[in-house]
């Protein structure tokens, strides 16, 4: 190969960069694009052989089927309520614990944090059956609260971890000044720490919402009908007559992905900060 001039090398480098970029985009997005394309096909065209790539016209009949026959919007509403309440509970409990661990002096600080973190790593399967019976004892089967409780417990550790590392970075001077003014730790927590921690709370909240929205095993086991089932469980358990209707399934998939993708793309910065906190020091 003859040696290339600097300009040629640069051009080659740029072309290579765009090709690699295009490969990554296709790799990440084509499965989602295919689902979207299937969902807007007129009835019957989704299962043609050979596969029809471009629908003859755009049809929302699959969406209409999911909404009118399956009442999918009710399931979406359940998902929104469960994930929102979970997020609020996680932030309330998580910020209190994180504040105690990161800024108060007591004997079992590291032990408390490790205990909470370990819970976050435990597999759902080792808890599912006893939790199911516990929730049944409490009379919460097929209720929002029955799903919210386990979702909160499982999303808490990540939030405590994130918030504790966030709180630990805040300057201690403010707190010391406040103590001189006679603030007790609770007042310091909600008057000083919380207002300063909006970005950390935001990251933790988004991750809690995503985790609850996407949780499947507990939502599947604890709910059994439209009164409490989440959207994801509804798609996975479509009644027999519908469970091979791929047009409808893909429409349901698009509807339940939409909120999550919007949140992730709009709040990308916070999501990435939350994901990488602890692993990377910024």
């Amino acid at each position: 190969m003859p040696s290339l001039s600097y300009r040629q090398k640069r051009l080659l480098g740029q072309v290579a960069a765009y090709i690699v970029g295009a490969i990554i985009i296709v790799y990440c997005l084509s499965p989602i694009a295919w689902i979207l394309l299937t969902s807007i096909k007129p009835p019957g065209q989704e299962i043609e052989i050979p596969v029809r790539y471009i629908p003859s016209y755009i049809s929302f009949e699959n969406y209409w089927g999911m909404i009118s026959k399956i009442q999918f919007l009710s399931y979406l509403r359940n998902s929104i309520i469960i994930a929102s309440v979970t997020t609020i509970l996680v932030l309330a409990l998580g910020s209190l614990s994180a504040y105690a661990i990161s800024r108060l002096r007591f004997r079992f600080r590291t032990a408390s944090l490790v205990t909470i973190l370990v819970v976050g790593m435990m597999p759902g399967i080792v808890m599912i059956a006893p939790v199911f019976f516990l929730i049944r004892e409490l009379g919460l089967i097929n209720s929002y609260l029955g799903v919210i409780i386990p979702h909160t417990i499982f999303a808490l550790p990540v939030a405590v971890w994130l918030l504790a590392s966030y709180f630990a970075q805040l300057p201690f001077d403010l707190e010391d000044a406040a103590k001189v003014d006679g603030y007790n730790p609770f007042k310091v927590y909600y008057k000083i720490i919380m207002p300063l921690s909006a970005p950390g709370l935001f990251s933790a909240g988004i991750l809690a919402f995503i985790s609850s929205w996407g949780e499947f095993m507990f939502a599947l086991t604890i709910t059994h009908d439209i009164n409490a089932r989440t959207a994801l469980v509804a798609i996975a358990t479509l009644p027999g007559a519908f469970h091979l209707r791929w047009g409808w399934i893909t429409a349901g998939v698009v509807l339940s992905l939409l909120p999550i993708l919007i949140i992730v793309l709009v709040f990308q910065k916070w999501v990435i900060q939350g994901l990488t906190a602890g692993a990377v020091k910024y």
Partner: protein, 297 residues
Amino acid sequence: MKIKLKETWYAYLFLIPTFIGIATFAFFPIASSFWWSLHELRYRIKWTGMPFVGLANYVWAFTTPDIWGSLGYTLYFVAVSVTLEFLIGLGMALAMFHTFRLRGILRAVVIIPWAVPAIIQASMWKWMFHPDAGVISDILMRIGLISRPVNFLGEPILAMHSVILADVWKTSSFMAIMLFAGLASIPQDIYDSAKVDGARMWFRFRHITLPLMFPIILVALLFRTMDAFRVFDLVYGLTGGGPGTSTEVLSTFSYKFYFSYARFGQGSTLAIVIFLIILIISALYIRNLQKSLRFRR
């Protein structure tokens, strides 16, 4: 002295709600599972007693070929999936890091598979693997690699690898995000001085990038290994463990023993096996995080 005491009590007060929650809904259930795993516990119309059987369920688990197979597949799934996602994720992270103009777009694109919930991912890939109208078969046919549609999820060896392929799509995106953050945290001047010294690209990657990224690579690999051992949603939604029990991982098998066969003793035993594996990895993981566990004061 007075202030110190007060602070301690506030700390406990703040931690109490969280600890009541995790004690009731995490530690108590784990202890119950362990207790159940030592018993023969079945449900037929009503509970059929609860005789203590010691370690008999564990002996059963390690002598039943299906369970062995499931343990084997779980290990295979974890090993292959984590290796592939690491390599693909590293590739994507390096590409994102070096294509300055596309970096913004790529970062937005790469995060998308990570955000797709696993059970949704299962539906998506089940549709793409469809035996008649699957788009993957169709593309392979158009390229000329195969002559008729392949039933990816219908034949054991093929299904085992199709599940891994579907998993890697989502998890490689998580790897890319983590590794990109690691790359971005390396100070640029190290590279600059290496370049001045005439270090070639491969040399820079081998002797600067990799060593400096080692801590984050370790954290990412441990985290993902743990997560891969817990896999449930994807297998449940994509193959349901089939065909036969070829893609059954410990979690899905355990769930079947619980909620399909109502054999809670055996189900708990499988769950405890996963629990023990994860406990070991999480100990390694936390030891690794320990330097960031120490707080001021």
